[in-house]
Amino acid sequence: MAQLLDPVATRSRSMRSGRPVKRALTSRWAYLFVLPALLVFLVFSIGPTIFAFALSLFNWNYLNAAMSKFVGLKNYVDLVKGTRDPSFWSTMWTSAQFVIPMVVGGTVISLLLALLLSGNSPVLYGVRTAVFLAHVTPFVGVSIVWVWLFNPRYGLVNAATALFGMAPRDWLGDPKTAMFAIVVFSLWHEVGFTLIIFLGGLTTLDKTLSEAAQIDRANKLQEIWYVILPQLRPYTIFVIVISTVFSLQAFTQFFVMTGGGPGFSTATLGFAVYQQAFIYRKTGYAAALAVVLFALTAVLSLLQLRASRNTGR
């Protein structure tokens, strides 16, 4: 089962000798080796997560903990009933509007780009670099740049759409377009990373299969569909998992570009946790949202891993 967590290891199974290995590696040293990392996780992630679980059972007075009240599951009841503002279900819908385009769009775009850009010509190399460069630029800075690009009066985006005769829009200020604008920016920023993963995957392709396809007079599209994509499956699954997790937890672009607005139209679950806790100081309710975010991230990742087991033999 552990191997299923990473499809790549599954494929390398043939390399293992299969019999029990080496006494030297069956040793107490292992605990010492994993200890530093585990301690860090325990103190700064696992412990605090448990604490957050506990918080979600309180009507927590953020300013004066002594005035907090234990309320049991009330925060979760409010959440399911959608009685808070914004309602939990509208927050979920907002999250879907960000996560789905990011995962689907990000995977498709980076896969297509990888197919287009794999190769040795200097042009392709330069373009790969350009796309990846966007990914390494720090978030706060480029978010600010994109706020300016989307400026309703002086922004480059409106200047560009004007060439096609479109009226200027207040991209980030209009509830209809704000999420779209943030998705465009986020894809611009994130695709570089997933592109690299696919490019890495493409170098591992079995050349003889493609040659066989060409001998069978398969055209390029058929070759991609029947020969290349199946071989890329482990990478695709990795990309889907990683972009789901990243986009569920995205924060900085919302913080800098819209503050979750207008209204709550860009307040995704990851942002809503911050908003409820640090802006509205409904700490207990925020903790309940956080628990949902945690559960959702976990379930999605596990589902995708299961899918990878079922399809990847």
Binding site: V40, F44, I46, A130, V256
Partner: protein, 278 residues
């Protein structure tokens, strides 16, 4: 034959052109940032925009004087390099153990590690804020370093890389009387260098770009990193667009330079990590 090759050349020309257009489109925001940073104030408010700037470098001087940037840069470097050092050590240790060593509970512990990846950072802000205060780590470098001193990604990647190594080399080492430490240092680590580079760069970039954590966990400019400084500048001088562009440019530039100087290793690292599969 000749026809086929001319068609091929035509196709590859088409491919290069399409790729070049995409690459240019991708660079537009960064180019625009730079052009704004050397424009006169009045020109950035033109509709339609004025494309050729006035090369007004005064924006840089103005932005540079407004905040303690050298301090921010130094802080960022200190934090990022420390995080990288810690992460590499903890990752290779744990990655080695999970990939090659057999011990009771290894599966469970690995799941524990993997589950950490599913914890959103926002969940941790409140409890860790309290932790930071009770331990006196608030507003120090340490609160910006220690929580990131281990990386799930790093452990995962190294476990993957190392478990793909043929077991024979370790058996040979064992015959020579090598223990786990010397196997790790002499065999595994050198073979994992590409992955280590990838992890190191990734961690460095992540630390450099991190925002919400240092934003909430620090108070004084003496320990604050660049991104928080930039946000402060944006909050205070949001109307000074050309100065802001200059600040974004000079805070982004080091990352870009670093990327270009190490890019070869980065791509190599990425490729050989994935390539270890075969």
């Amino acid at each position: 034959m000749a026809r086929r090759s001319s068609r091929k050349r035509w196709l590859s020309g088409l491919r290069n052109t399409a790729a070049a257009l995409i690459g240019l489109a991708w660079l537009v925001p960064l180019l625009w940032m730079f052009l704004s940073s050397v424009s006169n104030d009045a020109d950035v408010y033109r509709v339609p925009p004025k494309l050729w700037p006035a090369w007004n470098w005064g924006n840089y001087a103005r932005a540079w004087a407004a905040r303690p940037w050298p301090r921010y840069f130094a802080n960022t470097l200190i934090i990022a390099l420390s995080v990288v050092a810690f992460t590499l050590v903890t990752s290779i240790l744990a990655g080695f153990a999970f990939a090659l060593m057999r011990f009771r509970g290894s599966k469970t512990l690995f799941y524990v590690v993997m589950s950490v990846m599913m914890v959103p950072q926002t969940v941790l802000l409140i409890p860790n804020f309290i932790l930071a205060h009770t331990t006196g780590l608030y507003d120090t470098y340490w609160i910006q370093i220690l929580p990131w001193a281990a990386s799930v990604f790093g452990i995962f990647l190294l476990r993957q890389t190392l478990s793909a190594l043929p077991t024979e080399i370790f058996e040979a080492a064992e015959l020579d009387g090598a223990g786990p430490v010397s196997m790790l240092v002499r065999i595994a680590a050198p073979l994992a260098v590409p992955s280590l580079i990838l992890i190191g760069l990734n961690t460095f970039m992540g630390s450099w770009s991190s925002f919400v954590w240092p934003y909430l966990m620090t108070q004084n400019d003496t320990v604050r990193p660049i991104e928080v400084g930039l946000q402060a500048f944006y909050g205070a001088e949001g109307t000074d667009w050309t100065g802001l562009s200059a600040a974004v440019t000079f805070t982004t530039l080091p990352v870009v330079i670093l990327f270009f100087s190490l890019q070869k290793y980065f791509v190599q690292g990425a490729f050989s990590t994935q390539g270890a599969v075969q």
